[in-house]
């Protein structure tokens, strides 16, 4: 086996197969299981009903992020269902011995932000979580994917999962990004190209010079939205950028163990001659800021483009879907999105809520004001991100511009906690989903980068950030 050239994905897969009986799915070992309050309660109930325990609490990490409020800590939570979910997670973690980054923990945050931040996410691992954006962790050269609640119970009980081996896809991005173009624009362009089902059944490896030159936070943004292209997992081979990010994190290896780990991690790359099942290439030089106009993340375009016309779409169901989306979004075919009025700007979510994202948005907002009547919410991805941003004075830039500076959490990305759009409101959002009602029933979402979000906040309308960049 060692002589056959293998992809990065195959190396990690092979290294985690416990048993693979003919015709059955493989029993795949899981190194790290991340848990949050919304998709886990029924799994713990299942364990109790069957009289089972958690096999490896020390390979499990829990936090609360989806439903928790982003208001100041002294404001009591009024939604009793959220209160119950929180106390349920506290109880489950206490009973089964799982470490919990709870409400008062300085390490609490969006599960996909804190894993890397703590150094729990490491190259070569298998990582799962009851959340589809687990693909984020693939930025470290891990095989990371979202699972359902039944599978959460499986992993809690056995530290393993039954998996059919997915196919592999290479998405190669060569070249250099122009000013004002970000990792978010890369992934939005990829999804616009392959469609939201284009990656179904695949694990994606992102390669090429444009990906190599991204920092870890940017790589996470790209991998994060793999699921929006239908792929359960996206990954980037680890390199010096990865090692530098992980050095001295709380859960990273130390001393000799660090050196040994890095030596192993260097082997984690696709061998010359290894075959992907499918390859797609993109040229980074051609990319511009992107924005979505429709009700799925595949409905994206260059920010200077005009909204497509359903009349030009040959396939009947695709035409109907586009028409339905434009009706929901209240948009006219052939018109530009630039200049379209915006009510809310949301800077946050596991896609774009890390320090780099906040710095980028702040660089545009510094010394400028959010347009009158526009609500801009800035929600850091974790309490650590919040503290670091405050240490740099980013909070002041946002507040002086007229934006809200919130506690960390998923917030308006999923709109479970009261942070939401009102019916008919239009948002430019740095999150990952523009589905109908995703950010609040009747709300309309344009997905874009933190730079585009900041420029749009200033103009109170969809804006091209490039004019703000010297």
């Amino acid at each position: 086996m060692t002589n056959t050239p293998r992809t990065l994905f195959e190396k990690i897969w092979d290294n985690h197969v416990v048993v693979h009986e003919n015709g059955n799915p493989a029993v795949l070992y899981i190194d790290l299981h991340l848990v949050h309050e919304v998709t886990s309660p029924q799994a713990f109930t299942g364990l109790r009903e069957k009289g089972l325990t958690v096999r490896r609490p020390s390979q499990t990490l829990a936090t609360m992020d989806h439903g928790i409020p982003t208001t100041p800590p002294d404001v009591p939570i009024t939604d009793m269902m959220i209160v119950k979910q929180i106390s349920q997670l506290e109880k489950n973690c206490a009973e089964f011995g799982i470490p919990l980054m709870g409400m008062d923990s300085p390490n609490r945050g969006i599960v996909h932000v804190i894993g890397p931040e703590l150094g729990a996410t490491q190259p070569g691992m298998t990582i799962v979580c009851g959340d589809s954006h687990t693909a984020t962790h693939g930025a470290f050269g891990a095989l990371a994917f979202g699972i359902g609640t039944s599978e959460i119970e499986h992993v809690l009980a056995t530290q393993s999962l039954l998996q059919q081996k997915p196919k592999s896809m290479e998405i190669r991005v060569e070249g250099a990004l122009q000013p004002g173009v970000t990792a978010k624009d890369i992934i939005l362009a990829i999804i616009a190209r392959i469609g939201i089902g284009g990656g179904t059944g695949y694990v994606v490896e992102y390669t090429g010079s444009a990906i190599r030159s991204l920092n870890m936070e940017e790589r996470m943004t790209v991998c994060n939205m793999s699921i929006e292209g239908g792929a359960r997992a996206g990954m980037v081979a680890p390199d010096e950028t990865t090692f530098e990010f992980l050095a001295n994190r709380p859960l990273s290896p130390r001393g000799k163990a660090w050196d040994a780990a890095v030596a192993q991690w260097r082997q984690l790359r696709t061998d010359d001659g290894a075959q992907y099942d499918h390859t797609i290439t993109l040229n980074a030089d051609d990319l511009t800021p992107m924005i979505t106009y429709g009700t799925n993340p595949g409905m994206g375009m260059k920010i200077t483009d005009t909204i497509p016309d359903p009349a030009d779409v040959a396939d009947v169901s695709a035409r109907q879907s586009l028409q339905k989306a434009l009706d929901y979004m209240d948009l006219q075919p052939g018109k530009p999105l630039l200049g379209h009025p915006v009510d809310v700007v949301f800077l946050g979510s596991c896609t774009n809520s890390r320090l780099h994202d906040l710095r980028q948005a702040a660089s545009v907002l510094k010394g400028r004001k959010v347009a009158p009547g526009v609500r801009m919410m800035v929600v850091p991805g974790s309490q650590q991100v919040k503290m670091q941003a405050e240490a740099e004075g980013l909070d002041k830039i946002f507040i002086e511009a007229g934006a809200e500076w919130r506690e960390s959490g998923c917030s308006m990305c999923i709109a479970m906690n009261g942070d939401q759009l009102s019916p008919g409101q239009v948002a430019v959002s740095t999150s990952n989903r523009n589905f109908e009602g995703r950010q609040g029933s009747g709300g309309r979402t344009f997905l874009a980068s933190p730079l585009t979000a900041a420029a749009s906040a200033i103009e109170g309308a969809v804006a091209d950030v490039r004019k703000y960049i010297a």
Binding site: H66, G67, Q88, G148, M416, G442
Partner: protein
Amino acid sequence: MNPFTTFIGKIVSIPTENIDTDQIIPAQFLKVTDKNGLGKNLFFNWRYLPDGSPNPDFVLNRAQAQGAQILVAGDNFGCGSSREHAPWALAAFGFRAIISTGFADIFRNNSLKNGLLPIIVDKDTHRQLQSLAEEDPETRVTINLPDQTITLPDGRTVNFPIDPFSKHCMVNGIDQLGYLREHLSAIEKYEQSHPQRVKTI
């Protein structure tokens, strides 16, 4: 999980493509800590008007949807989040099978663990089922999982794919956790030969 073998069920069609899990069950209903009661919130934003009354234009609110057990849906059904609440809600409404030209991976996995059968058919069969549902709301088809077939009212039988393991578990009503637990000694061996890669405690 009850064994799933063969049954004759009424179909109902929602032809929209890329129906995401946020449409199947919006996030406000994920605050539950059990699996019950989600059927009434299935397709909530399509099914109810802003004042909370049923939307008469939505197919599940029509008389024909009463007792429907098979949903015929547009391509890439169940894309989006990993919420298992989606198959829970579909099953609680009474659906036992979804027929589409494609499913999102996580949704398909979740459904198979909840006795909800995702059936992939070719475009022509899909189109035929859609028109049948529109022409005659009482249209019924036979689903036979052991044979991996659906039989249309005109007697035409169409095969559908499913991996042998999922089929075995569904036909016999077996919880997949049982199979995993049979391998605990192999898992333990794996742990002994592979040092723990991270320690969270």
